[in-house]
Amino acid sequence: MWPAASTWAAEATAVFVKEWRCELRTRYALSTLALFAFTTLVVVSVSLGPLGVARSQGSAVLPVLLWVILLFSVAAGLPRTFVQEEESQTATALRLSATPSALFCGKLAYGLTVIAALEALITPVYLAMMSLPVRSPGLLAVALAAAGYGLAAGSTLVAAIIAQARSKGTLFAVLAFPVLLPLLLLAVEITRDAVGGDPAGVALTQLILYDACVTTAGLMLFPAVWNP
């Protein structure tokens, strides 16, 4: 039985606010994600050398590296949302105070805002460092928004799964990457379209469909994952 909409929205908002309040106390996720992403970005640019990638290959290779940096950064910081609940033994209190679907949506909204902040920070720096011109900035923004949402939805569910297991850190990457691979491929395809100034193809529709499917699966499976 679903609770009244106002109660449900209040619960989801409370979870979202609580996540940000905890985050602003320690700034763990934000600083870890930003530092990890920036370090990876520097490693990538230094490894490519001062010449970078040949202009003819840049539009094919550089979108891949951007999404790999974002994916690994998310894997480094986002699982903590659920792991922290288990480690600090607040999971039971959370189970009592919010319905699973509201909790999932609250955590998803938190993950989404963290990823949006990360993308806003990293993407302009990456484009500037790699001297990668984007002919359709609007399409790039849509790709970042849609793929960022998919990353948040997939990561939230997988983070809830690994929070109850041993060796949580490595397990997240092992479990999440095969789930997020279609999203990564679609995001790269749309980013290439944005860089080349081509119109969005069927990849954007498929990415939105992926987001919808993962969200539905998350809402459907989360009660089973969360409640013992």
Binding site: R166, F177, P178, Q206, L209, M220, L221
Partner: protein, 228 residues
């Protein structure tokens, strides 16, 4: 009568498979343009098929576990299906790579079907890693079932996205090609269909054995747990 069936059926299965091996090498002619290497088809295709059936069965059994009263037998069945699917999937990948080396000159070509099966293997290897990281039986069953269902939701995207990633494929057409016709010698079709039937029966026999072994192991573990 039951024990007689249990004794005779495995022998009939082994006889059938010996017949398939003899048929593959002595009865079926080599495919035009593929020389003797085409005989790998009679083993490679059934292995890939069994792997697909096993992964699908794992998803269905996981759904039955989560939404069908959480009976442990569904969890055992899903885990056994994944183990067998992985074994047959690895065999299909290896036989495919060997054939690719003979025909295309390289073991790995990032062909859409090679990539799809590789990602599927990664996903189900992650499923087993998750199971290994969870000690409590009920938690293990619940979380791994949720992960398997997530795989069922995400997998179709790979089948739509992967073919677009590769500009061309050297992989032969499926047995039933795009025009809906079987473009193959009659003797080859007979051996291939017999092999498909034999391998499918082999899968169900091995799956049954695996489930029984897992049930006995669980009973033994619970008896040892009861000991003072």
């Amino acid at each position: 009568m039951e024990s007689l069936t249990k004794t005779i059926l495995p022998w009939l299965l082994w006889l059938w498979l010996v017949g398939v091996i003899l048929g593959a090498f002595l009865y079926a002619p080599p495919a035009v343009g593929f020389r003797g290497s085409s005989r790998i088809l009679f083993f490679h295709v059934p292995m890939a098929w069994v792997s697909f059936v096993a992964f699908l069965a794992a998803g269905v059994e996981s759904l039955r576990y989560l939404y069908g009263g959480r009976a442990p037998r569904h969890d055992r069945s899903a885990a056994a299906a994944v183990e067998l699917g992985l074994a047959f999937g690895v065999l299909a990948t290896v036989t495919g790579a060997l054939w690719a080396k003979v025909m295309w000159g390289a073991y790995w070509n990032w062909d859409p079907r090679q990539t799809s099966i590789l990602v599927a293997l990664l996903f189900y290897a992650a499923y087993l890693a998750l199971r290994a990281a969870l000690e409590d039986r009920e938690t293990r069953a619940r979380l791994s079932a949720a992960y398997a269902v997530l795989g069922l939701v995400v997998a179709p995207f790979l089948y739509f996205v992967m073919p677009r990633m590769a500009e061309f494929t050297l992989h032969p057409e499926p047995v039933i090609n795009r025009t809906g016709k079987v473009d193959m010698d009659g003797k080859m079709v007979l051996v291939l269909m017999s092999s498909l039937a034999g391998f499918t029966a082999l899968y169900f026999w091995l799956h049954n054995l695996q489930c029984r072994i897992a049930e006995l192991a669980e009973r033994r573990a619970s008896l040892e747990g009861d000991r003072p």
